[in-house]
């Protein structure tokens, strides 16, 4: 595998700040970025990435190529929670299996953003419609996960209604900001870009570093908590992203995405949610243990994708595309 990919990923400031956060935690530092600063940073990142994607979409327009990519995104967002659920049932009860399946069926915006910064490091372009793809992939897994839990689970305790569920899935704060900014970017186009780019583009990398510093602290802090659940969740959190990534690479090739778009698509499929889905699961499947699904996503899959996944997926794509 191409070494320059690994190095240029490890020399990417955001990744280095992620390491810094992990180190801080391992040496027992009191370093922390207290709430609501991380929430503010994540809102900023969603707003900025959504807006930039919208502006690019405004330029490219809704070509059939774009629509096919969005279709593929939807497809993966439906398949992943389904197949992972049945794998998970081997070890977990219905509620936890459903929550984890929803977590891995949905996406991690920050992994997506880190992939974008990795591509710009390599000078490889990617299209704004991949942001739209991300927006589409956030919610379906939530619906599917909850549906599975309610169909196959024991009907114990008052469950929140389906209308509440729809709201929690599609009107989730992070989904609203991402989609809203996307639409605003698509409406205002170049003029809007000119007005906001110092905020949404120039300082973007720096804000990302700050957020990843916090993510590093969190991941390291949570890492210990996973042990109690044995090795299955750890293996799952590493292998399932690889499986989904492989499927994504071939699907991307099939529908003829560019190398850059292919990486973004792969990262979406390989990543797991730790913002939108946990927020929804706490309400819809309270019996599931956040200490399990959040930790798998935050402490294992996220670092794995950021550190190992990005160069690995890129290498595979380079081999196949060239």
């Amino acid at each position: 595998m191409d070494l320059t990919l690994i190095t240029s990923n490890l020399l990417n400031p955001p990744v280095l700040f992620f390491f810094l956060g992990m180190i801080a935690c391992f040496v027992g530092s009191d370093l922390e970025i207290p709430q609501p600063i991380p929430k503010f940073l994540s809102l900023y990142l969603l707003l900025a990435i959504g807006f930039k994607g919208g502006v690019e979409l405004h330029k490219s327009g809704l070509t059939t190529e774009v629509l096919i990519a969005l279709g593929a995104a939807m497809l993966m967002a439906v398949i992943v929670p389904l197949w992972t659920f049945f794998v998970l049932r081997k070890k977990f009860d219905v509620n936890n299996a459903a929550a984890v399946a929803a977590t891995y069926g949905s996406v991690s915006a920050v992994t997506f953003i880190a992939a974008g910064s990795f591509l710009s490091q390599l000078g490889i372009p990617s299209g704004g419609h991949m942001v739209a793809a991300m927006a589409l992939m956030e919610s379906p897994a939530i619906i599917i996960g909850v549906a599975l839990a309610r169909k196959l689970g024991n009907p114990g305790g008052a469950k929140s209604s389906w209308s509440h569920l729809m709201r929690d899935a599609f009107a989730n704060g992070s989904v609203i900001v991402l989609c809203g900014a996307l639409v605003i970017g698509a409406i205002t186009g170049a003029k809007g870009e000119k007005a906001l780019s110092p905020f949404t583009s120039d300082i973007f990398r720096g804000m990302l570093c700050l957020f990843l510093l916090d993510m590093g602290i969190l991941s390291a802090k949570r890492l210990g908590g996973i042990r109690q659940f044995g090795w299955f969740p750890v293996g799952f959190a590493v292998l399932v992203p690889l499986v989904n990534a492989t499927a994504a690479v071939f699907l991307a090739r099939l529908i003829g995405l560019s190398a850059g778009d292919a990486l973004m698509f792969t990262v979406l499929c390989a990543s797991a949610s730790y913002i939108a889905v946990p927020a929804a699961m706490r309400l819809a499947i309270p019996e599931a243990n956040p200490g399990l699904y959040v930790t798998m996503s935050l402490a294992i899959t996220f670092p794995f994708n950021i550190i190992v996944g990005l160069p690995l997926y890129m290498a595979a794509i380079n081999r196949i595309w060239s």
């Binding site: 929430k39 920050v110 969190l218």
Partner: protein, 97 residues
């Protein structure tokens, strides 16, 4: 000063809407909410450190007439059963405006 029951309920923050709805259903319109708490219990520790926020606990404090206390506690019990947390009831004297 009238005698009241001082009830404090500690639950995961997403429970708050359901909790206040339960209170209103019992005609309790006076309460105070302490947010972004951390804690530890049977379901492990809760840290309020998730990047999306909303992973901490809240404490709802309400002073109610003694006769209302028992029924209110019974109404809250299922919430605690389903989603964890604790409810403490003690005696107090209250002064309101």
């Amino acid at each position: 000063m009238q005698t009241v029951k001082r009830i404090e309920i500690i639950v995961d923050s997403p429970e708050l809407p359901e909790l206040t709805a339960t209170l209103r259903a019992h005609g309790v319109s006076g309460y105070t909410v302490f947010s972004s708490l951390t804690g530890s219990g049977d379901r492990g520790s809760r840290a309020n450190d998730e990047p999306g926020g909303g992973s901490g606990n809240i404490c709802l404090l309400t002073a109610v007439p003694p006769e209302k206390a028992t029924s209110l506690v019974e109404a809250i019990r299922p919430i605690l059963k389903r989603r964890g947390g604790i409810c403490l009831v003690s005696d107090a004297q209250s002064v309101v405006h």
